[in-house]
């Protein structure tokens, strides 16, 4: 049961968080602690917010917060010049912890404004719940529900029913690292047990290998190689992606299924032990490929094999940059 009852109270929480973000941003910009503040502002379409870069305190009024703030803003941090303030959800901050561990972001150049997260909505799920080709003309999100209006319809949906799949199984809705936490921990949803998150992976692993392969082949066949998954991922920051390497050339021009598979396997390997399941890749994919299943399995493997959870400890060492003598080796001849 949630500690806070009543929907009016719920709306106030969103308002309070939004106010807190605006105040923090204005204060930090005024004091000169930061040069830029990265947050969300209203988007141009219903159910969309969009990243915004605020540089003067008066503009802090543009900042918004609601369960439709879907982007992982930490993807803008590597290579960023100057000091930055940034709004982070529970998942986002774990990507930031990794970026700090991997020396991509300097801890003293970033002011972290943490938000106790209730989960964000998945636009595909909203579309499915609504029925295809019903055009949403306007949407308003409160803490608990989503009010949608379109041509001849008005629908209210529970946020719970259209949560992003990664939010449903989120373990750390409260940021594990922050300079400012707006609101308080009780405003976040309850963290889920890891097993809940691995249920889908475990069920999938029960299928026959051939069935697993055909599932992935079918998904990945649809890939149009726009690399939105890579670009939206806060942890994909290589100056030159292996996909773009010309010598040796990993991915052929003739982008058949096999090359698409190689890209996706490569992507998963590169985020193995680092991915925090923020779901940014899945949301960015324009053709709706189920990108989470593979990364979630790697997350599970890291937990099972090495008892490692990514993005929790700023004093730690990345999974693949260290070892233990007693690491599993039963697969080695």
């Amino acid at each position: 049961m949630n500690k806070m009852a009543g929907s009016s109270m719920g709306e106030d929480t969103i308002g309070a968080i939004q106010e807190g973000i605006r105040n923090s941003a204005a204060r930090m910009l005024e004091s000169g602690e930061i040069d830029v503040f990265i947050g969300y502002e209203d988007g141009t379409l219903p159910l969309r917010t969009t990243p915004v870069f605020i540089t003067c305190p008066e503009d802090a009024e543009r900042l918004v917060w609601s369960p439709i703030c879907e982007n992982s803003l930490t993807c803008y941090l590597p290579k960023f010049q100057g000091t930055v303030g940034v709004v982070v959800k529970g998942c986002d901050v774990r990507t930031l912890v990794n970026l700090i561990l991997e020396n991509q972001v300097s801890r003293d150049k970033v002011k972290i404004v943490g938000v106790p997260c209730k989960g964000i909505i998945d636009r595909d799920r909203v579309g499915k719940a609504l029925g295809t080709d019903r055009i949403i003309r306007s949407a308003k999100a409160t803490r608990r529900s989503l009010m949608l209006e379109g041509d001849g319809f008005e629908v209210e949906m529970e946020i719970q029913d259209v949560l992003a799949p990664s939010c449903e199984v989120c373990r750390y809705p409260v940021p594990v690292l922050f300079d400012v936490l707006v609101g308080n921990e009780s405003m976040a949803r309850d963290g889920k047990d890891p097993e809940a998150g691995y249920l889908e992976v475990a069920q999938f692993a029960e299928l026959e290998p051939d069935a697993r392969f055909s599932f992935f082949a079918q998904e990945i066949e649809r890939c149009i190689q726009c690399y939105a998954c890579r670009q939206a991922c806060p942890l994909c920051y290589c100056p030159e992606c292996f996909v773009d390497r010309q010598s040796p050339k990993w991915i052929s021009r003739w982008r058949g299924l096999s090359d698409k598979i190689l890209f996706h396997l490569g992507r998963v390997l590169h985020v193995a032990g680092r991915c925090v399941d923020c779901g940014a890749c899945r949301r960015a994919c324009p053709v709706g490929i189920d990108l989470r299943l593979l990364t979630k399995n790697m997350e599970k493997a890291a937990k099972d094999l090495f008892d490692y959870e990514s993005g929790l400890d700023i004093g730690g060492v990345p999974l693949l940059a260290t070892y233990r003598r007693e690491d599993p080796d039963d697969f080695i001849l």
């Binding site: 219903p46 870069f53 295809t132 998904e219 003739w254 324009p286």
Partner: protein, 350 residues
């Protein structure tokens, strides 16, 4: 003007198939829609396919020729394939929206102009009849009217279907369209439309014109972008910032047409392949020396906007945008080209 019951659409497709046409229409692929071979199953016409119509003429990758140096001292080159006389059968693309059809006319400037005719593209164009379905309900990201098109625009179409109360009014727009209707005229399906239907269509059209967003100041923006100082304008510093650098906008765009050509060789044989390129990628215009005139996302984003609303205009007297809204709708960070254009329309350059 002809008329057909909406429920006869599948029968219409069957008639085309029977007349040996390959019928291409919207198909569902996972959560996305694109154009693919239809027939046999019920056709659903979505508001707009996720993937653009251009793929049917300018595919994401295609083999231009193959070569083999084993055995003979000289390379033997094989350019048949697509270009062989039976490489492409006559096709009908159906369920096309007016924006996608109009985009083909823009692409013709590139691939089928007086200066250069791309044999692969033109062959596919010649062999394809475009049946456009007028848009009864434009979406929130649509802005076709701002670009000079509209939900009932006929540019690029051979036949136009307009939905009126359970029926389609069928209009042959081009000679090619007229020819197809005469050749595959199933009288049990197609009837002559009466004045009442035509009146109803006109009314629907008047109603439908409204929501397709005519308010984006594209002409004004294009005028500013044509200014000599536009390229170095400080506004670029701001507008690109949230761009992630993925190719969703360019790959889903019905008019983006940049491509790259290269050889894929295994041993002594290989293929020359043309595939889509995107100005959003770091490899775009990367020189062999390692220098890239467009080194960051700022320059690459500018390239996309300038190409569509300035360079293309200078070359072809029209903008390379049809306002389909795919880039707006699918951008992972909601970077809205309409906003960018509005920003520039309001700019005052000395």
């Amino acid at each position: 003007m002809l008329k057909m019951a909406k429920t006869d659409l599948d029968a219409f497709v069957d008639a085309l198939v029977k007349a040996s046409y390959v019928v291409l229409g919207p198909i569902q692929e996972g959560e996305a829609t694109k154009f693919g071979v239809v027939g046999g199953e019920e056709i659903k016409i979505p508001r707009l396919t996720t993937r653009p119509l251009k793929e049917l003429f300018f595919p994401q990758d295609e083999s231009l020729l193959s070569f083999d140096r084993s055995g003979t001292p000289d390379a033997s080159v094989d350019t048949s394939g697509v270009l062989a006389s039976d490489g492409i059968s006559p096709r009908v693309a159906l369920g096309v929206r007016p924006c996608d059809a109009r985009a083909l006319v823009l692409l013709d400037n590139v691939f089928a102009s007086d200066d250069y005719r791309d044999p692969y593209y033109t062959l596919r164009r010649e062999k394809t009849v475009i049946i456009t379905f007028a848009c009864p309900l434009p979406g929130v990201a649509c802005f076709c009217e701002s670009t000079g098109g509209g939900p009932y625009d006929e540019t690029g179409s051979d036949i136009l279907f307009v939905e009126v109360a359970g029926s389609y009014l069928v209009k042959a727009v081009s000679e090619k369209g007229k020819g197809l209707l005469q050749e595959v005229f199933p009288p049990c399906i197609l009837h002559e439309a009466d004045d009442e239907d035509i009146q109803a269509a006109a009314e629907a059209r008047a109603r439908g014109e409204l929501p397709a967003n005519a308010g984006v100041p594209i002409e004004a923006a294009a005028a500013i972008l044509g200014h000599v100082d536009a390229f170095g304008d400080s506004a670029w510093e701001e507008v690109y910032k949230k761009c992630l650098g993925c190719a969703v906008c360019t790959y889903l765009c019905p008019t983006c047409h940049c491509f790259d050509i290269g050889d894929e060789v295994t041993g002594a044989s290989g293929e020359r392949i043309r595939n889509w390129d995107s100005c959003m990628f770091p490899l775009f215009t990367l020189h062999a020396s390692g220098h890239n005139p467009r080194p960051s996302r700022k320059e690459r984003f500018r390239q996309r906007v300038m190409h569509k609303f300035n360079y293309f205009v200078e070359n072809n007297d029209c903008m390379a945008c049809v306002g389909c809204g795919r880039c707006v709708e699918n951008c992972p960070v909601n970077l809205d080209i309409r906003q960018v254009l509005t920003t520039f329309a309001r700019r005052e350059l000395a």
